[in-house]
């Protein structure tokens, strides 16, 4: 279970990421001529550089981030079924987005209203959960879980209410957003999100020793010199910040944060110093591949990418499980 050569897993996942970034923009219902696209000839240039490439890049960033955050939350909550969404950040983001859509807001401070409102929603939930969970200045994974799950269900109820009150056209837009999806965004937005998210992911890798200890238990960690309350807070803030930032752009995309860390644990083991970077590097091409399928298999109709992640990831995971049945241990 312990990999003898941790570097080889990182290298393999990184290679998959690079391959996805290079190959997937070339895939699509319309053939793109590379030379023409490079020379700026329309429409090849627009299709490749303004439609497909930014979309693939966002899918890579989102997939990697969600997978890494999933691995982190599973450790913090000692729950194999935890996802980046368990603690309510994404329903906070969704509530913000749905509010903006049902009120018909177009722009907030020059940003598209849905993104801005979703980000504010995620931040609000994050602050609320921390305030509730750290009652008495101590935080435990139990109080964190209770606070997160409670806020999550309150947000979901409010989303239902807003959706119920919304008009027909708005209602469809809301449902579509709640399914999650990757869109081509301007490079400036992409760069801004990457600058915000990547340092937080690096922090998640850097503190991986502490996640290892917390994944075993809080007393276990405390007896080995970890300030568990602070470590939990740091982990929750980092994981929620990246999840909220991504969800604001893509809506909630299920399954990536659950299945990628699990599949990797079977291969690279539970050490988060390896698991979190591998989750990022492998989650990225996984979601990019799913999104490419989402826009091509039934073109010109798009299939919600969350459907693809589940339909591709689920059977793959079952196959992985079966191939390891002799040792029964996940």
């Amino acid at each position: 279970m312990a990999s003898r050569r941790p570097g080889s897993w990182i290298a393999a996942a990184a290679a998959a990421l690079v391959a996805a970034a290079v190959v997937l923009p070339l895939v699509g219902p319309v053939r793109v001529d590379l030379a023409r696209a490079w020379a700026g000839v329309s429409p090849d240039h627009e299709i490749l550089f303004h439609a497909r490439l930014p979309r693939v890049l966002l899918a890579l960033l989102a997939g990697g981030t969600l997978a890494a955050a999933g691995a982190l939350f599973q450790a913090l909550l000692r729950d194999a079924l935890a996802t980046p969404y368990t603690l309510g950040v994404s329903s906070g983001a969704s509530l913000g987005a749905v509010l903006a859509m049902s009120l018909g807001w177009e722009q907030i401070l020059g940003f598209p209203a849905v993104w801005a409102a979703a980000f504010v929603g995620a931040a609000t939930v994050l602050a609320l959960v921390v305030a509730i969970a750290s009652e008495g200045r101590r935080m435990s994974s139990f109080t964190l879980l209770l606070a997160g799950v409670t806020i999550n269900s309150i947000c979901l109820a409010l989303i239902l209410l807003l959706q119920y009150l919304a008009g027909f056209a708005q209602s469809i837009a809301i449902v579509r957003w709640l399914m999650g999806g990757i869109e081509a965004v301007p490079y400036g937005v992409l760069a801004a999100v990457a600058c915000a998210v990547l340092p937080a992911v690096a922090f998640m890798c850097w503190r991986a020793r502490e996640w290892n200890l917390l994944a075993v238990g809080e007393e276990w960690a405390a007896a080995r010199g970890v300030d568990t309350s602070r470590a939990l807070l740091a982990g929750y803030l980092a994981g929620s910040f990246v999840t909220g930032s991504i969800t604001a752009l893509t809506g909630p995309i299920g399954f990536v944060g659950l299945i990628v860390p699990h599949a990797l644990r079977l291969k690279v083991g539970a050490d988060h110093r390896l698991l979190i970077p591998c989750s990022f590097l492998a989650g990225a091409p996984f979601l990019a591949l799913c999104d490419t399928l989402a826009r091509t298999v039934a073109a010109p109709t798009e299939i919600p990418v969350g459907v693809i992640t589940a339909m591709l990831g689920g059977p793959f995971f079952i196959w992985l499980l079966r191939s390891r049945r002799r040792s029964l241990w996940l």
Partner: protein
Amino acid sequence: MYRLRGVGMSYNGTPVLHDVTLEFEAPLFAAVVGPNGAGKSTLLGIMAGLRPGYAGQCLYRDREVRRWPRRAFAREVSFVPQTVRIEFPFTAEQVVLMGRTPYAGGLFESPEDWEAVERAMQLTDTVAFRHRDFRSLSGGERQLVLLASALAQQPRVLLLDEPTAFLDLRHQIAIYGLLVELSRHGLLVIAATHDLNLAAAFAERIVALRGGRVVADAAPERVVDPAVIRQVFGVEARVAPGPRGRPWILYGE
């Protein structure tokens, strides 16, 4: 090294430990005995720095336990819990490596870390299954791995909560034998147990708790006495000479 004066503890207003005054000095192997709910785990938890809400004074090396910086304290005192439930596929070796956390500088292990892990695993005889999933190990093997993880901390004090509660005879004797060995090498070893015979056969000193109070604190020959056993455990017992001149307790009339 440890000086406890009037230590008490309550959980939500229910007192579980009253006015405990004790001193421990290394090297020593002491057993804390008592029935379920006597306060053994709470006492060890306080001494391990895991229950900072205690009343009274609990000094380790002349410093209140709750005032010790955590990392520094973890290099002095290590704690072996009764069981650990792990959800994820950590290997035995990775579990032992976690004991090096209070010495960790960065993301990766130093040569000293590997040396300490190697020594701890050899001492506990766990080298053979170092790459196996912790969850696939038997109860006895797991307990040995937990002990190895505590030893990798290179502590002066080893606190153990029911280290052999679920183990077969061979593992019980192996672990207690190892604890005796460690105390001979200069460690202060304190183990909580409800197995009086095991305590009497291996420990040099027995502290008996009942209802959160210390009711006896002496060498095994003095504590293992029908009157004391009746008082602590509420059962009738006879005491006969056992192995190595230690007393052996026979339960029943």
